[in-house]
Point group: C2
Chain length 219, copies 2
């Protein structure tokens, strides 16, 4: 069974990718990052989903970097997470600079250290509006860099780059991915708030996919 390291947030996209990879008969090692998020709901969601699938799950702690990467509302307690759609101008405060490149680089080191050469992450088209490091040209470039970062190439898979979130939702539904156990909301209250950028996107995805949304939203 081929091993693959998956960057696993506990959200919808990486959870569908987890189920996708398991179906492809891969042995998935899931890595999540504690980067000083204001809440740990997504890490708990990741833990539960990994346990349910009896796969190894590692939380890599880079929260000590937060103070140096702290202009984002996702990590800085002084900045409020804005309500509204990703496409809105106010969403730029949810950008953690170079987050995906940092995650990918560390995950690659983690993989190399174990002799694993496969790496996967669930970037998708909907993210591209504001997150440069989810765009196809970025992924294509960093894939090339990963082929050169060690004596044996690391192969990066980002199979949903041209999927909408609704496409991922449809695929997840086919794969019986447990959407109810995934966490999206940036605010991390008891329930999904239903108002922040990622809640908007989550709701829309289910509607666009024509799939019943099991999520209970605050509003």
């Amino acid at each position: 069974m081929e091993k693959i390291v998956l960057i696993f947030s506990g959200g919808m996209d990486s959870t569908v990718l987890l189920y996708d990879l398991i179906l492809q008969n891969k042995e998935v090692i899931a890595v999540s990052f504690d980067y000083g998020q204001k809440h740990k709901k997504e890490l708990l969601a990741a833990k539960k989903i990994a346990e349910d699938n009896k796969i190894e799950h590692q939380v890599l702690d880079i929260s000590s970097l937060t103070q140096h990467l702290s202009n984002s509302s996702l990590t800085n307690a002084d900045i409020e997470v804005p309500d509204g759609h990703y496409a809105s101008s106010n969403m730029s405060v949810t950008v953690v600079p170079n987050r995906n490149m940092i995650f990918l680089s560390i995950a690659a080191g983690f993989a190399i250290n174990r002799g694993i050469r496969q790496l996967a992450y669930g970037a998708h088209r909907g993210d591209h509006f504001i997150y440069a490091d989810c765009r196809e040209e970025f992924v294509s470039s960093i894939s090339q860099t990963f082929k050169l970062c060690d004596n044996t190439p690391v192969i990066l898979q980002a199979p949903y780059l041209n999927y909408t979130k609704a496409d991922i939702c449809k695929l997840g539904s086919k794969l019986d991915a447990p959407f109810i156990n995934t966490w999206s909301c940036y605010k991390g209250q008891d329930l999904h708030c239903g108002q922040c950028g990622t809640c908007f996107e989550r709701r829309e995805a289910f509607v666009d996919a024509g799939i019943s949304d099991p999520t209970i939203y605050e509003k």
Copy 2:
């Protein structure tokens, strides 16, 4: 004065690069990484050199990752640092997987967060034997990735890529870089051991450059 973030280990190469950048009238922000090195001598060296030059110096702590990247003799207490030349087969235990890519990615996030778009590091030709992430094709590829990782490109400088360490030594001598305050040795005793890969390389560089070596070696 243009700002630039320099990856600064406190060793010879990044110290010469610091002096080089200062001479180019750049405002340097030096970042060092605590990645769970067995010793802190190089971080102390970096601190002193930064203080002497009155430049900002930040130590970014990623030591919690060590357990996940721990097959290297530089971080793993159970593995001894080997004596001998870099070109020797036993030197592979000094490789921390994907270290430079991790450092560069985090330093880029740090720079972007401050609105700085210039990044520098002191990789040089001598490292290429065993460290894939010091090779020209790697640096060329990651430079391209940095142009795409955010909406505004980050520009990576690695001006010593085709320098030998002796070349850097000669340049440093011209620039009055304080070699006596730099630290190379992997072992981190009171004095440079004179026997490990990086001590070998340091000694050779001074000899090849025809410059008097101010370092006091244990052996």
